[in-house]
């Protein structure tokens, strides 16, 4: 795209082509206003796409293999470790990292912090895609994925924690689709839909908070079914769900920081002034919130240790691993965020966010895979399982990028012919700079 932008091509950001005054068709909008040849050209020139192509070339056949020959051909068929990377990473890691949806939604719609609006849509999309792909991972992991709707429609086991997770994820996905659909309705030009969603925005957001609290907690409560199987330092009978819920908060916030940083570095041409100008301020705001949550999490983890009198475990090998996870994943980001907020250095906050994301992933993998069955033996996931997990993540990135390129998430859709309604969000940028100027400006921003 850099190449094309230097030639003065402008990606679609309104219903009407600025240069020819003709309306963009859906096909034009999908191709960002480029000709198919131009679009293909820019895709082929992007080295990241080569990496994605290799991953897909190896991974997609393996996924087909899994479906035609059973889970046994891509996993170790372990009866002691029934859950592997698909759930360990795809569900347990992706879901807390997608908590950004309800966090930013709450901040903006409930608490009225409209200063976070420039990144609100990104956070909502991050949340939607994370949950959606958690379901995709689930479809690869389930023995009979075609029976996914069974706990909803066929046979109910309401006493099971997973029942709650299934219902909540399904409902929450609908809530998130509704929240992100605002951007979609702008893009296709159906403002009636957008108005309807905006009217129920508070209701949607409150539903989102309820559902998120419960299913983020429920994912933790799932491990309450196996109290003897997880190492005591990662398992707390009364607090497991609270630990998971509280850690989901910094996870979601930091994922937004990380993704927004990657976007700034790789896709700044798609971002408008509103996004780029406010990003640093928003990042520091998110960092403040994340650091508060991390400090809380650190305290409640040690309350958990004290409650069950597990101090002696800290002196063991597993104890050292626990302290390392806390030090790198929790304490270090707290220090980095404190410095970043105090001295207003965004770069340090970004590093803190990346480390936090790593820390959350490590915590979930520790709980679900690494310290699971700690008294038995260690299980390393099958290579094919790793490849498929990476492939699904690559598809997630592709879909994420596809939507960010097109929908008005990072930029404002220009409504020349529509009258502004009172329900519209306060996000329209005052000066309508064309993306290529904004892109050039962004190159001067650190």
């Amino acid at each position: 795209m850099k190449h094309l932008l230097e030639y003065g091509i402008e990606p679609v950001d309104s219903h009407v082509n600025q240069k020819t005054d003709k309306s963009w068709s859906i096909k034009d909008k999908l191709l960002l206003g480029l000709t198919p040849g131009q679009y293909l050209g820019q895709a082929l020139r992007n080295p990241f796409n080569w990496i994605l192509a290799i991953i897909l070339a190896v991974g997609l056949p393996l996924i087909a293999y899994r479906y035609f020959y059973g889970l046994g051909v891509v996993t170790h068929s372990s009866n002691d470790y029934p859950w592997g990377l698909f759930l360990g990473f795809g569900l347990f890691c992706m879901v807390p990292l997608s908590a950004s949806g309800f966090m930013l939604g709450t901040a903006v719609e409930i608490f009225g912090r409209h200063d976070f609006e420039p990144i609100e849509r990104l956070a909502l999309l991050n949340g939607l895609l994370g949950y959606f792909f958690a379901v995709v991972y689930l479809l690869v992991d389930l023995g009979q994925p075609w029976r996914l709707p069974y706990p909803m429609f066929v046979s109910f086991g309401p006493a099971a924690v997973l029942f709650l997770v299934a219902w909540h994820v399904a409902t929450y996905l609908s809530v998130q689709v509704a929240e992100v659909s605002v951007a979609f309705f702008e893009w296709i030009g159906w403002l009636g839909g957008k108005r309807f969603i905006r009217r129920i925005a508070v209701g949607l957001t409150v539903s989102g908070i309820i559902l998120s609290t419960l299913h983020q907690g429920a994912l933790g409560a799932l491990f309450n079914y196996a109290p003897g199987k997880i190492h005591p330092l990662w398992y707390s009978a009364p607090f497991q769900w609270i630990h998971f819920f509280v850690s989901a908060i910094p996870a979601g916030l930091c994922m937004v920081i990380v993704v927004s940083t990657i976007i700034k570095k790789t896709m700044a041409w798609r971002c408008d002034e509103n996004y780029l100008d406010n990003l640093d301020r928003c990042t520091l705001g998110l960092a403040k919130g994340a650091s508060l949550a991390l400090i809380t999490y650190l305290v409640i983890k040690f309350i958990g240790v004290a409650h069950d009198n597990e101090w002696a475990y800290l002196a063991t090998g597993w104890g050292a691993w626990f302290l390392l996870e806390m030090a790198i994943g929790v304490v270090l980001p707290i220090i980095l965020f404190a410095y970043a907020v105090r001295h207003q250095v965004v770069k340090v906050a970004r590093w803190g966010a990346a480390i936090t994301v790593f820390g959350i992933v490590l915590n979930r993998l520790n709980t679900a895979l690494i310290t699971f069955n700690w008294q038995l033996y260690q299980e390393i996931p099958h290579l094919f399982e790793v490849i498929i997990a990476v492939t699904l993540f690559a598809i997630y990135v592709i879909v994420y990028r596809f939507l960010l390129y097109r929908l008005p998430i990072l930029y404002s859709w220009k409504e020349q012919t529509e009258v502004a309604f009172s329900t519209e969000p306060v996000s329209a940028s005052p000066t309508r700079t064309i993306p290529s100027q904004a892109y050039n400006m962004s190159r001067n921003i650190d």
Binding site: S77, R147, Y150, V154, V165, G203, I209, N224, A226
Partner: protein, 313 residues
């Protein structure tokens, strides 16, 4: 946001809270309070009697139409097999619903242990299944319905005995595989399971669970020094239908000596109780926050100041 929708939303949320709180209360049964149906059957496994002949494995294989094994059932070399770097003995899997393992406790002759699903009174698998695929029958068997199973394998995570296995080899019809107490073919017709029937040493005693406890206590009492004075499974994890007597301490023959007497569901009950609380409290709490955060027209200090400034110009 317009006033009308806020009012409507509040009304709807109050109605929702009322609905959850006014649900007809059912008779509450605490977890760990169910020790089984009164005439539930059970099996007493006496490890001092087992000689490791593996006839029970053969009988189960035939009764449940399992695939042919790799080695004959009278081949005792299987007792030397280990897995995962020599740390694990044989376990149940999709082709073997019960296995016998040999243990060599110090200062004792080899002890053989048959293990299979213990058919708990309040099973972890049943409690954790979100499609209600498991049923605890009045005869005592914990059976499984493969027609609703989605293959999430939470039951395998939940079972404290690591019993359920999954047919990972099947692409289109996988299922959980475990001992079903020969429910379909024998138990519901009043017959003992195949393994009990074939055992030459009567290491397996079939009967009503409550009678088995009496028998086990009498056995311990009339054979002083022969058994550890404990019936494993009488109270463990809420009580199991298959109970064990051992001549050596239980941890030396592959048992977890302290799984606790609470059924697994006790560990999730507190979280499950929180759910309706959150559903009921969160709406009012966050709508309340929203109302507090939203600036009221005419009372906004900044807006007033702005009006003053504009008026002065």
């Amino acid at each position: 946001m317009s006033g009308i929708s806020r009012r409507r939303f509040l009304a709807a949320s109050i109605a929702g809270c009322a609905a959850t709180t006014l649900a007809v209360p059912k008779k509450a049964l605490a977890s760990g309070a169910f020790s089984g149906y009164p005439d539930s059957m059970g099996v007493l496994v006496d490890l001092s009697r087992c000689i490791g002949c593996r006839s029970c494995e053969a009988a189960c294989n035939e009764e449940q139409n399992l695939p042919a094994p790799a080695l004959p059932f009278n081949d005792k070399s299987v007792f030397d097999q280990t897995f995962h770097g020599g740390t694990q003995k044989r376990r149940t899997d999709e082709n073997a619903y019960t296995v016998v393992n040999r243990y060599n406790p110090e200062g004792s002759e080899p002890v053989y242990r048959k293990f299979q699903c213990n058919h708990c009174a309040e099973p972890a698998c049943l409690s954790s299944c979100f499609v209600n695929a498991y049923t605890k029958t009045p005869e005592g068997a914990v059976i499984y319905n493969k027609n609703v199973c989605v293959g999430c394998r939470t039951c395998m995570v939940a079972c404290p005995f690591h019993v359920p296995a999954y047919s990972y080899s099947s692409a289109f019809d996988p299922a959980i595989k475990k001992c079903i107490f020969c429910h379909e073919t024998r138990l519901k017709n009043g017959l003992p399971p195949a393994c009990v029937d074939i055992c030459p040493q009567e290491a397996l005693t079939f009967g009503k669970r409550k009678d088995l406890i009496k028998i086990a206590n009498q056995r311990i009492q009339t054979n002083p020094g022969r058994y550890i004075n404990h019936i494993y499974g009488e109270n463990e994890l809420g009580g199991t239908s298959w109970m064990y007597l051992s001549p050596v301490p239980f941890e030396e023959v592959g048992f977890d000596p302290n799984p606790g007497n609470e059924p697994i569901i006790s560990h999730v009950k507190d979280f499950l109780s929180t759910v309706p609380m959150v559903l009921a409290i969160w709406p009012a709490l966050f709508v309340g926050f929203h109302l507090l955060a939203k600036k009221q027209d005419g009372h906004d200090h900044d807006a007033e100041k702005q009006h003053e400034e504009e008026g002065a110009e």
